[in-house]
Amino acid sequence: MRDDLFDLLWEGLRETLFMLVWSSFFAVALGLALGIVLVVTDKGHILQAAAINKAFSLLIGGVRSIPFIILIVLLLPVARMIVGTSLGPTAAIVALSIGATPFLGRIVESSLKEVSGGKIEAAIAVGASPLAIIFRVLIPEALPALVRGVTIAIISITELTAVAGAIGAGGLGSLAIRFGYQRFREDIMFATVLVIILLVQTIQWTGDFIAKTIHNRRFKLE
């Protein structure tokens, strides 16, 4: 009984972590690109382009307004095309990545917008190219805010993995629903919830720790 519980939890955790790590990786990469485009094409910014800005804004709004559980279903054919299957954790990564990207895009956008215009002007004044401004000014200056935002996003991806779990992706969410809910195994339900709480807290602590370390190094008076 105890062994069985432990095995189930371990399997669930591994599947959840697998989905979480890969979809966070893709969503952060895509979200960073999206956020950068949104910021630099904004009015008065270094690569102002109203049409592109508007198009990406609409795209983000569109994807974000689709409830995630429906988005997964909509993306099943895409998952089959990319990873060859529409079942299990690997297929879920496709939907999770695409579903979380717009959210991350907005988070990156708001973090990068906090970088003062004066710093950007100083960079322009020394002859920095747009690419140099993005990678040597915007991102490093916004780093503490970016880390905090990405932490929030990864936690919400954790939530989404549970949603995906409900319709066949596996992981801890699926465990809680299949055993805890459908088979009335309250012990599994509680154990699963406990593991998820620990997982989310670990992510939060790690994110806070990194953000605080960067912030202190820059702003703490010696």
Partner: protein
């Protein structure tokens, strides 16, 4: 060195258009410290920001050295900007970089190799007297030290011209004085042309060779700095000098009273 001809700039706002610069003509000689003075909203900031095209003028011409600034685009403009240093009222340092990396930034952007960057940064930090702060972050510096870093950054690429946009306006009088002294030293040592804008008469008095007075987007008076004090012609210049005279007169009275008692 710097030639400005018929420079105009209009801002569009919701309440209509504002003429910020109205057919400005200006000549700055090589190696001089040229001051532009005016009250808030007179257009002095717009003028200096047009010189390196942080602000796009609507019409007119700007030439700095051999570069037709108003004709340049893209990479050529960026290369020209490397030879035009600029310092700012609020310093605009990068909080995420140490003093060393703030000063190295223009050099890294220009694509210099690492060891060349290192020797140049050390040299410049020595010039502005901040060698001991190499590893500090801007938040750990005083206002005067921050502006020294700003100056070091502006000088990193060995520019021909330095633009100073109210560089001492956020500093206390004593720090202002030390920054002005530093600018004058640099001007002499490097034969660097400096254009500064200010609303402080003391700044002109301390370091400028020649000046222009700007009023509602127009240059209303130009010439040697002494002329402004001895024979102010424009309304703005008279008001500036008038305020100063008033204080001098009052101080005279107070000191006189003291002597009498």
């Amino acid at each position: 060195m710097i030639l400005v001809e018929q420079l105009s700039k209009t801002y569009q706002t919701t309440k209509g258009s504002i003429l910020a610069l109205d057919r400005i003509d200006l000549k700055v000689r090589k190696g001089e410290i040229f001051g532009v003075i005016g009250f808030s909203g007179a257009g002095k900031s717009t003028l200096i920001r047009c010189l390196n095209r942080l602000e796009e003028p609507d019409s007119g011409r700007i030439r700095i050295g051999e570069d037709e600034i108003t004709q340049l685009k893209g990479k050529r403009l960026r290369q020209a900007r490397q030879k035009i240093g600029m310092i700012f009222q609020h310093f605009n340092l990068l909080d995420g970089k140490t003093v060393y990396h703030n000063v190295a930034f223009p050099l890294a952007v220009a694509g210099h190799p690492r060891d060349r960057i290192r020797s140049r940064v050390r040299e410049i930090l020595d010039l502005v007297n901040l060698s001991d702060k190499e590893g500090a972050y801007p938040a750990q510096l005083s206002g005067g030290q921050k502006q020294r870093v700003g100056i070091a950054r502006a000088l990193a690429n060995d520019p021909d011209v330095l633009l100073s946009d109210e560089a001492t306006s956020a500093l206390d009088p004593q720090t202002t004085f030390s920054i002005l002294e530093l600018l004058r030293d640099i001007n002499r040592q490097l034969n660097l042309t400096i254009v500064l804008i200010t609303h402080e008469l003391e700044v002109l008095q301390h370091i400028c060779d020649r000046m222009a007075v700007i009023e509602s987007g127009r240059i209303v008076e130009t010439g040697p700095v002494e002329k402004l004090f001895l024979n102010p012609e424009s309304e703005t210049a008279r008001r500036f000098v008038g305020v100063l005279d008033q204080y001098r007169a009052r101080r005279g009275i107070i000191e006189g009273m003291g002597a009498g008692i």
